[in-house]
Amino acid sequence: MIRDITIGRYFPGNSLLHRLDPRMKTLVVFAMIIMLFLCKNFYSLGLMALVIFILSLISKVPLKMLLKSLKPLIFIVIFTAVLNIFYTQGGQELFKFWIFKVSDKGIYTAVFMATRIILLVTVSSLLTYTTTPTSLTDALEKLMSPLKVFKIEVHTIAMMMTLALRFIPTLIEEIDRIMNAQKARGADWESGSLISRAKALIPILVPLFISSFRRAYELAFAMECRCYTGGQGRTRMKQMKMRFPDFSTAAFALLLFSAIILLNLNFVGVI
């Protein structure tokens, strides 16, 4: 159950997407997210869907894994879609019951919003699937480094993210273990009322908090023992370098951006 969480999970491989510079990947994914929000009609959204689909083929991440990352969001997708069906004003009325009116425009918007959310999640999971958490935070640290001007501790933030990501699997394992231990003592959080279910979480959360604090102390000691004093004067073993594929990716992103704008212009009024 708890092992199904795929957010931030890396899928080992050696595809073109895996080899791209993480900085460029992050930037392009960020740009694509913006593009998804710029899409105004099904033509531009369709183009994005096609591109994201091709990217997932290139990444060689199994479709099943990608679908799995969508699983926790099914509820949100459906919720948004339903909300949009009923709350969109105007358009031709298709049918009506009680106080609800369903129009063609409503259904249009619902499908559009649902597709957009699915694409957003897919493109961002593609990034985490093809980039190890460490190189991702390294990239973020580099990309955010201009913020140092404003006295923002970029290195500390990046280190915190690295550590947080690093401990996700550990904590999942820990939760698994504690859950099993309490299950062995007859704990049951799959039946009963909502309140009793919430209460049943205490035997998991208390030990989890305690062990997290213990781990944090141990880790801090271990880091200090290895003379960690923060980011100042720290060098990197792995230097990131932009190469030809990275620049082509940037060019491709620009091309895609112009295509989206053009498609938006040409068919205004579809939605």
């Binding site: 273990r177 231990a181 062995a184 003592r185 704990a187 049951d188 030990p207 305690i210």
Partner: protein, 287 residues
């Protein structure tokens, strides 16, 4: 009829992912009522996965688990029954403590069984006695106890359910020799006074040799061999090959034997060794 048996038990972790591994493979075992069984194996051999099937924490990918002759996965109720009939104490059980007081924590299991207030109280007091926790400690917070006390409190939490079978996964991990002996002895006493079946999982041959009647050896996800301590230790080479070792005392006697002294080579506990030496020097053997 054996109290627990498995047939062709197999468990695969992460099926349909690139991280797929078979943690246990085609394991068939039988554990008799009242038996004291040891399961030994190297770290990662699959012994922890194996025991988590015996009370229905893990669902087998293939194969069956029988508790008193009945398939525990027959229905939802039978799984829950198995949880209470087979008490499983995990490795480092002190990390499962969560209640405000030791008393409440030990009472967690019996409470989940739906017992009466009176019965719960009786069981908690009794379990605390089994593990040698003073009554004054029961009202303390479990987080104020020492490491050894925490461990014993956690074991009491499983004992309080009065399971027919008690399974302990590395109950002595991370303890000093004195703490180790204390825990193993209390488990032995518990078994003798309740007559329940006990399964002790360990990678330490020394622990196992001293207490159990029969040993199951797990290696590379499979049941490698099973038999009495003598049978297993007589295959010393194989054990070494597996990254396990015979007890130090056995090694000492093997060396003595190698030097041409007239002593037995199949000595597995300090006590046996002591008596054998007395015999060697022609002294009275103490019982």
């Amino acid at each position: 009829m054996p109290i627990i048996s498995t047939s062709g038990l197999t468990h695969v972790y992460g099926e349909n992912t690139p991280f797929k591994v078979a943690a246990i493979n085609d394991i068939s075992i039988e554990i008799g009522k009242g038996e004291f069984v040891g399961i030994i194996g190297h770290t990662g051999s699959g012994k922890s996965t194996l025991i988590q099937h015996l009370n229905g924490i893990l669902k087998p990918s293939a194969g069956k688990v029988f508790l008193e002759g009945k398939d525990i996965w027959e229905n939802k109720k039978s799984v829950r029954q198995a949880r209470f009939k087979v008490g499983l104490c995990f490795q480092y059980p002190e990390y499962q403590l969560f209640e405000e007081s030791v008393y409440k924590d030990i009472a967690f299991g019996p409470k989940n069984m739906g017992l009466s207030e009176k019965e719960i109280d009786k069981r908690v007091v009794q379990a605390a006695e089994y593990v040698g926790l003073a009554a004054s400690l029961l009202e303390k917070s479990p987080f104020d106890l020492s490491g050894g006390e925490k461990r014993r409190a956690a074991i009491a939490g499983v004992m309080a359910m009065q399971p027919a079978v008690l399974i302990l996964d590395e109950p002595t991990a991370g303890l000093d020799p004195r703490g180790r002996d204390k825990i193993l002895n209390l488990i032995k006493d518990y078994r003798e006074s309740t007559g329940s079946t006990v399964v002790l999982v360990s990678h330490s041959m020394e622990d196992v040799a001293k207490y159990v009647q029969r040993v199951l050896v797990v290696r590379n996800s499979r049941l490698e061999m099973q038999g009495s301590i003598k049978d297993i230790y007589s295959k010393g080479e194989l054990l070494k090959d597996m990254g396990l070792d015979v007890p130090q005392i056995t090694k000492v006697f093997e060396i003595l034997q190698g030097k041409g002294l007239d002593v037995r080579g199949d000595i597995f506990t300090l006590e046996e060794g002591f008596n054998e030496l007395l015999k060697f020097f022609g002294k009275e053997v103490s019982v």
